[in-house]
Structure formats: C-alpha cells, structure tokens
Symmetry: C2
Subunit: 239 residues, 2 copies
C-alpha cells in the first residue's frame, strides 16, 4: 500500500522546487536503482511490482505503480532517494559545460555520455534543466552516480576562472575535423533553440562545428545536442 | 472545431495498425510540418493554435490542441499527412541498418543523424519501431523527408544481398579508433537491450566497439544507440 501522503510527495518530486524543499528525488528502472544503491546512495522509500528484487522494497500492484510513476510505461521499481550533498568542483582536464538545455532526456543522455568518456562532472548554467528530474535520471541510466552536475549562477565567470581555452559548439564555426582539438580545455554546448548565451559567446576562444555532409538545396538545420557532444567527445578521445 | 470522428482518428494514428489502414500519420511541431509541406508531402488536415501560420490551417484553441496532441506539451500546429508511397531501395555507398530499436525518439534522432551525414535511407528489421510513430516524426525534425526507412521481413538476407562487408556495433568488438572503417559497407545497430539478432550476427564481417574511457571498478554498461551511431558516422565522414 502507498499512503495518499507518499503518493502526493512522489507526484510533487517531478518539480525541482519540491525536490530541493524535501531533499529528495525519484528514480525509476532496475538498472538506475541498482547503480544508485550499489554506489551507496540512500533511499527513503522503495516500491516494486516484482517480488525479490530488493528485500526491503514494498510490494505494490501494477495499478498502484501506474499511479506513482512519472512515465507512461512504468518500470518494476521506483525509489525515493536523498539528494546527494553538493561537492566541490574538481580540476579535470576536459570540462564540459551546458548552457540552457531544457530537455531532461537530453541532459540524462549527456550525463551517460560523459560517464562513458571518463569525465566526472558537468558545469551547467542555472537555466539548464535539473539533473534530478525523473526523466534525466532515467536517461542517465545510473551514470549520475559518477558524473556530478554543478549548477552555477554565472557560468561564464566560472568558466573564465578555470583559465583554460573555451570552445563553443555552434553551426558556423571551424570544422572539428580540421581544427586540432585540445584536451585541456572547456567545451560548451547551448540549447538547440537558443544556442550559447551572448555573455558566454564573447569569452570563447573559437566556435567549432560538426560539418554536415548533405548535398542539395534542402538540408537539416542542426544536430541533436547529445549527438553533437558524442561526436566532440569521440574526437577528443580518439587521439 | 474538431469533430469527434477526427479526434478519434488522430488518437488512433498513434498506432501503426491504424496508420497503415488509413494511409495517414500525424506530425506535430512547426519545423517538422514546414519541412513536410515544403517537400511536397500532402496533408488531409491541419490544426493550429497560432493564427497565420498556414492559411488553410483550421484555427483551434489550446484546450482543443491538448485533446489531440500525442505529447505532454503540445506544439502550435498538428497535421494529418498521407503516408508516402514506398520507394525502391537505392544503392548507396554506406548503408545503415537498424535491428529492433523500440524507442521512437531514438529512431527519429537516428533519421536526423543520417540526414546530417548525407545518407538517404535506413534499412530496418520489422521489429524496429515504425518511423511514422508521432514521437519518431517529432524527433526526426523533418529529416524524414530526406531519409527513407525501409522495413524488411528478413533484414539479414537483404543485407547479404547488398554484397558489401557488414559490420555490427557491439560492446565486445574491435575499437573503431583502431580498425580502419570503410565507407562502402553496411553498419548495423541493434537494440540497447537485445543487441543484434543471432541470425544477423553470423553474417557479420566484424564487430566494432566504441571503447570507453572510464577507469575504476564501476563503469557504465552501454552508450545510447543514437549516440553510438553519431560516433560511427563521424568516424566514417571525418576521413
């Protein structure tokens, strides 16, 4: 059974305001919850429609899971976890910065990508969607335990203080296949609709572009931001 | 106004069965609809909450759009388009094949990626999600007009008949950074949960892998399939 109070809380945790207020977030999916728990992240509640997944998960019916899930298709397990305490920004050779991405699925995929390429943090502007959004958590597939998102009031100033060259992904820059990418640098990605903010743009050393290979008059406008990042990280790592 | 009959039809078009039966599909979003119309794709109905987007769009209220949209957040325009007639499989140097991907957002992103890298078709197994699913259409951002998905009963045999080397993306293959990728070849991507089917696996010339760069005991399991494809296409095009 799930009390009305718990159901209301889980529903509210789709919003950042309530996550911050309660210091809690919701995670769903076997893989994600396994990663969180095996990395020592603490939960307040755990509900499961499958028996024997976790000894202390409260067994519920599918109809009840459908009432609390944040997804159209619920997974067999949902947990309410404590938000982790904030960490210091570390010194890492390559820094990935995100300026204003609003799609939580994209951010989750970006977290998973950074994990794959061995990075441990992402610097985000405050306009960027929260990484503890249930959809970001699900798309990160547990990589959130190894990649910390730092939200910053003034991303531009923070990037300048790193004293490394700053490169921005754009549609009108130099080709990443021709420009020699350096590892000890910051790479910033803006939102697909608004790009990188003006006050950050002025601090860039260079804008870089993934050239497109479509001939003919009609062409695609842009690449998905997570796919762009995938290609940048691959270019940086392949050397 | 939207009649109950039209509302029911638009709702049904979320399912492939009804799309095939009615030879129609639903597209939402200004960018997508602009691409479809400017490429000569014909619509049966067009609804818009914004005035003057298209002269013959039927003006509706946001509350009505919320009743017909396939998304949580509706866009200002929704169209019901005729399914295009099937085309012949063309001879293209690089062939991308998809075996069993079930997430429509992933397939849409893959279509957009293939468009960016200048490809005009994707060969899909029948187990792959339909490219006219409203979510695939939205994620493709209009690239569906330039990239045709061919669904095949026996993908393995079709790939063999192309008489080109076949490479599969897997987690245990040779590093794509060490193996010399060839353009005149087929690259096949399986679903994240089930990988490439057994009867296709046996026809592969080689399995290829994007190596990960995470040190330490705990590592991410896999990359999102669209991100993997982005990296493969980048490697193939950068030469």
């Amino acid at each position: 059974m799930i009390s009305i109070k718990d159901r209301k809380l889980i529903f509210q945790l789709s919003k950042k305001k309530y996550r911050v207020q309660n210091k809690l977030f919701v995670a769903e999916g076997e893989k994600t919850i396994e990663e969180l728990i095996s990395n020592g992240w603490k939960y307040e509640m755990l509900f499961s429609t499958k028996k024997n997944l976790y000894p202390d998960a409260r067994p519920i019916k599918l109809s009840q899971m459908k009432q609390i899930t944040h997804f159209k298709t619920p997974s067999p397990i949902l947990g309410v976890f404590n938000l982790p305490q904030s960490k210091r920004i570390m010194s890492e050779s390559t820094t990935i910065a995100i300026d204003g991405i609003s799609d939580p699925g994209n951010l989750g995929t970006i977290i998973r990508l950074c994990d794959w390429f061995g990075l441990s943090q992402i610097l985000c502007s405050n306009e960027t969607v929260d990484c503890y959004n249930p959809k970001a958590i699900q798309a990160s597939m547990g990589s959130i335990v190894r990649v910390r998102c730092h939200y910053l009031d003034n991303l531009g100033d923070s990037l300048k203080s790193l004293k490394k060259p700053i490169f921005g992904a754009s549609l009108n820059g130099k080709s990443i296949y021709k420009y020699r990418l350096v590892k000890n640098a910051t790479y910033i990605f803006g939102s697909e609709s608004h790009g990188i903010s003006k006050d950050i743009l002025k601090n860039l050393n260079c804008e870089l572009t993934i050239p497109h290979f479509r001939t003919g008059k009609l062409k695609p406008d842009s690449l998905n931001v997570a796919n762009s990042l995938a290609i940048f990280l691959s270019e940086l790592s392949r050397v």
